[in-house]
Amino acid sequence: MNTLALIILIFFSGATLAYLSSLISNKLPGWVALLTTMTGTVLFYMSFQNEQALSFSIIGLNLEWALDNYTILFAHIIFGLGILASLYSVQYMQNKSQQGSFYANFLLSIGSMFGIIISKDFISFFIFWEIMTWSSFLIVVWNGIGFRKNGIWYMAMSAIGAYAMLTAIVLINSEIGTYSLQAFFNAVQENAIDNLMLVSILLLIGFAVKAALMPLHIWAPRAYSNTPASYTSVFSGALSKMGVFGMGLVLIRVFRFSGLQDNFDYALVSQFTSHVLAWLGGITAAIATLYALVQKDAKKLLAYSSIAQLGYIVIGLAIGTKLAVMSALFLAIMHAVFKGALFMAVGAVERQVGTTDMTKISGLIRRMPWTFFVTLVSIIALAGVPPLSGFVGKWMLYEALITNGNFFLVVVVFFSSTAAFLYSYRILFGLFLGQEEDDTAHVKEAPATMVIPMVILALFLIVTGTYPGIVFEPIAHGMEYLGFTDVTWNMTVLSNVWGDSVNLQYVSTTIGVAFMLALIFLTFKGRKGTRGVSTKDISTSGEIPLEHENLTFQLDFFKPFERAAAPLYKRSITKIYEDVANGLEALFDFTRKIYTGNGQTYAIYVVAFLVTLLIVVQNML
């Protein structure tokens, strides 16, 4: 049997098995999921070097599945994160109920993500896309909390994306008469599609929803913060990358290498769209960053931060130069790694302490040292500070923007990534630093199966900080699939088109040597008189604090900044959303009367409806 089909089958049957096993014991599904993911991953890594392809037809539709280099790039993300997340999940979900449905959906969404990237025709692409959407939606509403508040946003936005995508697919089919992806690309090359711009924009909207691009991002903070952490790392790390995956195809494959650059109108429109998208990405990054730094909940903060990071990726893809696309894909992988690690770390805190509200926790550093280490490394990578891998992506993005002439966009990006330091510090301080209070004295480090996946991700960040070439290799191959030629990369040296370069090996060596010197000096000098003290022994102006007084700075962390940037926080931005929200809620109140309100039947119903619609449309034409 074909490996691709086998992997898909394993995941889908694993999902069923997980659900069924939960009827026996609530502990089983976790292990089933781990086993399934492991089998799938091993299968994939055993066979991905070979050319894999599969085509078959069901009810008159030709479905094609195949592996290519671009696919493999994303498959690394999905399987790498998937296996770590499922390992992490076993202990994380330990005491939670309804594990069966969680793991079923968990496996379904991993399987369907793999399905999306291997699909070489629009039908299977769309079907897998919908399975992914629905499985993730069911996890968002899995714990039953805030269905209307969180789930409905996700569903609404996904529906917008799905309908946009569906329209595009129907349009494509009406033009070229087939659902094949390759045929579509060929048609683009030959300029055989009249409504290419419309189709592309519709497709982009569909992908932008998953990539949480403004103004379609409102679902993301709610959905990310409402899912169990073991899934959030996949959700934010891998699932959102499906949007990036699709955008890459459209923005690069269709816009940039369509061979229509000579066509003035087309070039104008495509470049305009790219620019708009790039600026949308920039604004997304800036606004999401501003919102991230006022959050009180660590998970929500990370959710907004994810949106901001995806903004950078979209900028890179929209700019579309070699360096830009490379930086975007690099950032996509790194975002999956560090955001995965961060969500896992925050999940560990949630599991051990019981909350992720940063106004309630402080001083966990001595209680959860490994979690702190992972958070620290991931945050440094997220902030883009050398010598970790986040810097590599940031550097390439800046150089790409400057060499491409996007001067003001680079300032916007710089603003948001400088402001990112603020929320980076917020989360580190909020969870791990500050006063070590007695009410968290009992907290212990998370179990090993949770720590190990996080540490693996953190180590990956450290290694790729010096040797980003490890990641550049699959990226370069993937970019060749997208249409770039002569993609050059170096193991440790970054360089831009102007010939300026950064040698990461020297950077890490210098930092290492300097740090070791300082460490030796500071640790051994006057060692006898040096002692560690508790955080209670601080200078409070000579006064002795009372029991109930709080000495950790927790509320309104960046109030002065908020005041200074008040115009950017103005009500007008959120008000638009709320108006939209109110309108949508009214709409959904109406639709709820039609549907039963039960998520699962609802899901099947909608998917079935969409597929029928597709077939009917196809037959009509």
């Binding site: 008189g529 002692r531 003290v533 209670k536 022994d537 200078s539 000579g542 006064e543 002795i544």
Partner: protein, 181 residues
């Protein structure tokens, strides 16, 4: 000036020399003598030329100035601040009130003899001491440091129990964190 250089190693000599020329004073005006501290630090008397400057928190400070009488409420804070300072630290007691209670010898709320509660390196008498006297006091302290005789913190730690007993006599509700030295 006899610096007893011969009895010190060169490293010790350099250390003491630097300590002598860089005195960070604790910004704590415990009593009315604090009014002459600004005068001492500003243009006419300019203590900074001797390397004296203010430090905001006890961690950075070298010299604790007890500027006059100490109310018992302040004594508690002074002890806390003093214990948070890092060795080597020095204490300069200001004004007559720190020596024998001064004009407040019969007050129910001011301690009379500072030396019983924390060790003192230099006394500056007068009420209140003029800036000249303050600077003279500082110079006396500097000489003491250069000779290597100012070991206030050690004295305190060695006789901690005696000092604690005295402190407990005045401070009735002892609610201070314990230190791990």
């Amino acid at each position: 000036m006899e610096n007893k250089r011969n009895s010190q190693t060169i490293a010790e000599y350099i250390k003491n020399w630097s300590r002598k020329h860089s005195l960070f004073i604790m910004a704590y005006g415990t009593g009315c003598g604090a009014i002459e501290i600004p005068a001492t630090l500003t243009s006419r008397y300019d203590a900074e030329r001797l390397g004296i400057r203010g430090a905001a928190t006890p961690r950075q400070a070298d010299v604790l100035l007890i500027t006059g009488y100490l109310a018992t409420k302040t004594l508690k804070r002074v002890i806390r601040v003093y214990e948070q300072m890092q060795d080597p630290k020095y204490v300069i007691a200001f004004g007559s009130c720190t020596i024998n209670g001064g004009m407040y010898y019969d007050s129910y709320n001011t301690i009379n003899v500072l030396e019983k509660y924390i060790p003192v390196d230099v006394y500056i008498n007068g009420c209140m001491p003029r800036p000249e006297a303050v600077i003279a006091g500082f110079q006396q302290l500097q000489d003491k440091i250069a000779r290597g005789e100012a070991d206030n913190g050690t004295r305190y730690k060695e006789n901690l129990e005696w000092y604690r007993a005295n402190q407990h006599r005045v401070i009735k509700n002892w609610r201070m964190p314990d230190y791990n030295w």
